[in-house]
């Protein structure tokens, strides 16, 4: 981990503190192509988000991105990876948090920490079926309410299914 922070010296103190505070939850810190990615366990998500927001000053959650690992996860791998793209203003540093979550598992909602996660999580639910516990009103956002299936999953056909829309 000391090597990973070498590319982003300004973030080193924050990252070192993170790893110390949440020993079992911060799984890895990588830097690739200038982007900093921190892999977390499910339970560590909200505490880490809160710590980054309140202490390290990452005051903006720019996006919540879901990846479907259907074809790339090996045995024992979880179906989805949920990414949280955080940004710090002023200063414009970025950090990406990655959490693996299985198909039937839920994730704690980030809305109590970042209000801007509201619709992003709804979109994640609509497109992938990832449930966020504690979200104030988790429902579909793009597709009609009675739509069956989650379109952005890798096993959902591009042309759609009968009985969809």
């Amino acid at each position: 981990m000391p090597d990973a922070a070498a590319d982003r010296p300004e973030l080193r103190p924050a990252l070192d503190a993170l790893a110390a505070r949440f020993p079992g939850e911060v799984l890895s810190v990588d830097v690739d192509k200038g982007d900093l990615t921190v892999r977390l366990g499910k339970a560590g998500l909200i505490p880490v988000l809160r710590a980054l927001k309140e202490e390290a000053g990452f005051n903006a959650l720019e996006d919540v991105i879901v990846l479907d690992n259907l074809r790339t996860a090996g045995e024992g791998g979880k179906r989805f990876t949920v990414l949280y793209q955080l940004c710090r203003f002023p200063g414009a540093d970025r950090v990406r948090l990655a959490v693996d979550v299985g198909e039937d598992e839920g994730l704690d909602s980030a809305v109590p920490v970042y209000r801007s996660a509201d619709w992003a999580e709804r979109e994640a639910f609509d497109m992938f079926g990832v449930r966020f516990e504690g979200h104030p009103g988790l429902r579909r956002i793009y597709m009609p309410e009675d739509f069956e299936g989650h379109p952005l999953r890798k096993d959902f056909p591009l042309e759609g299914r009968d009985g969809g829309v």
């Binding site: 970042y114 209000r115 619709w119 793009y142």
Partner: protein
């Protein structure tokens, strides 16, 4: 006869929702209690589609996201791919991209100005704004043949060169726009009715703005100098000298002033880019079939509507594994309810206009 709460429905077909947007309003005797936007009427499954196309094939589709500022979408996506694949864009191409992107910002803001004024009743400004926008669209048409869905920025550079004749025509267009802006400002800026409809309306405090993830001119109208062109410069923006206009109160009037001033700053940037256009190639050598080794990146630009971001994950083939677009209008629309609460029903249209949303971008 007074009525208590009524539920009103605006749209999806409504002259002022700027596209197919549905707003569920709860109104108490004209005062807005709650606003719930319902979206998805224009959802085309772009992200799903992109997973089955090559990186190059995706570029024209990004035009259709924010269709009033298609070059910005192109630029956002293309810069992310270049960051992912490690492609170095020649300096001349970067400058031409800046010219195109800033002209696009001009066009987008002029369209916004027309719509905003029309919603509040100043119909003639719609046409004056569009008249000015036409001159800019003519430039795009001359550059690469299209006016709206332009596809004028490609992976690695730009498709055509900007020769001296086109540069001269661009300068001529830039000379004409301030005059039109002055006409419009004379009609609106100090107009009592305009100010009554915009000052103090749709206010959002700076802290709330950041909490809701508001970006772009809406955030800058609250006094926060957050502009990706300055904070995380891309495409040689750090070589240009320009100001970031800021507002103070975060109301509709300040957003109006901020965007007007951004038009002037864009003109300034384009002039600098044209004056300092370096020699060189207009595109890097990019293989016809672009295969990218597995990696993932997130990159943002300052689009006219706010901070536009693309996340791309590659898997070693010529098609991306996942492309996610962070749409500024999608996030900005979340703050609509906060801005409308406590205001009158008649103001909802004005506030929605000041957010400057495009449904293509929201719904993907």
């Amino acid at each position: 006869m007074a009525f208590k709460e009524i539920d009103l429905n605006m749209g999806p077909q409504h002259p002022s929702t700027h596209g197919v947007l549905r707003l569920k309003l709860a109104v108490d005797n004209e005062v807005v209690l709650s606003v719930e936007p319902v979206i998805g009427y224009l959802h085309r499954g772009m992200e799903k589609l992109w997973e089955s196309l090559t990186y190059t094939q995706v570029v024209p589709l990004t035009d259709r996201l924010d269709y009033l500022a298609s070059l910005s979408n192109n630029l956002g996506y293309v810069l992310t791919v270049e960051k992912l694949a490690g492609i170095e864009v020649p300096r001349r191409a970067r400058y031409i991209r800046v010219v195109l992107a800033e002209l696009q910002r001009l066009a987008s803001h002029l369209a916004w100005l027309g719509f905003q004024a029309n919603d509040i009743g100043a119909m003639s400004v719609l046409l004056y704004g569009f008249e000015a926008r036409e001159t800019v669209l003519d430039i795009f048409e001359e550059y690469c043949g299209a006016r709206l869905t332009i596809h004028g920025i490609r992976i690695g550079g730009v498709p055509h060169d900007l020769d001296a004749a086109l540069a001269a025509r661009i300068r001529k267009v830039l000379d004409g726009i301030p005059k039109r802006l002055a006409d419009i400002r004379a009609l609106l800026d100090d107009n009592r009715i305009w100010k009554q409809r915009t000052v103090g309306i749709g206010r959002i405090a700076a802290g709330d703005a950041i909490a809701y993830g508001l970006t772009g001119p809406g955030l800058r109208a609250c006094g926060l100098a957050w502009d990706m062109r300055k904070d995380i410069p891309y495409s040689s923006y750090d070589e240009f000298d320009f100001d970031v206009p800021l507002g103070r109160n975060g109301d509709v009037y300040d957003r109006y002033l901020v965007r007007l001033e951004e038009i002037c700053q864009s003109i300034r940037i384009v002039r600098q880019a044209l004056d300092g256009l370096p020699e060189g190639e207009t595109s890097a050598k990019v293989p016809r079939v672009l295969k990218v080794a597995p990696a993932e990146v997130f990159h943002t630009i300052e689009a006219p509507k706010g901070v536009l971001g693309f996340y791309i994950k590659s898997n070693g083939t010529d098609k991306p594994e996942r492309v996610k677009m962070k749409s500024p209008s999608f996030i900005n629309l979340q703050s609509l309810e906060h801005m409308c609460k406590g205001n009158l029903f008649s103001d909802v249209v004005g506030i929605l206009g000041s957010l400057d949303i495009v449904l293509g971008e929201i719904d993907k």
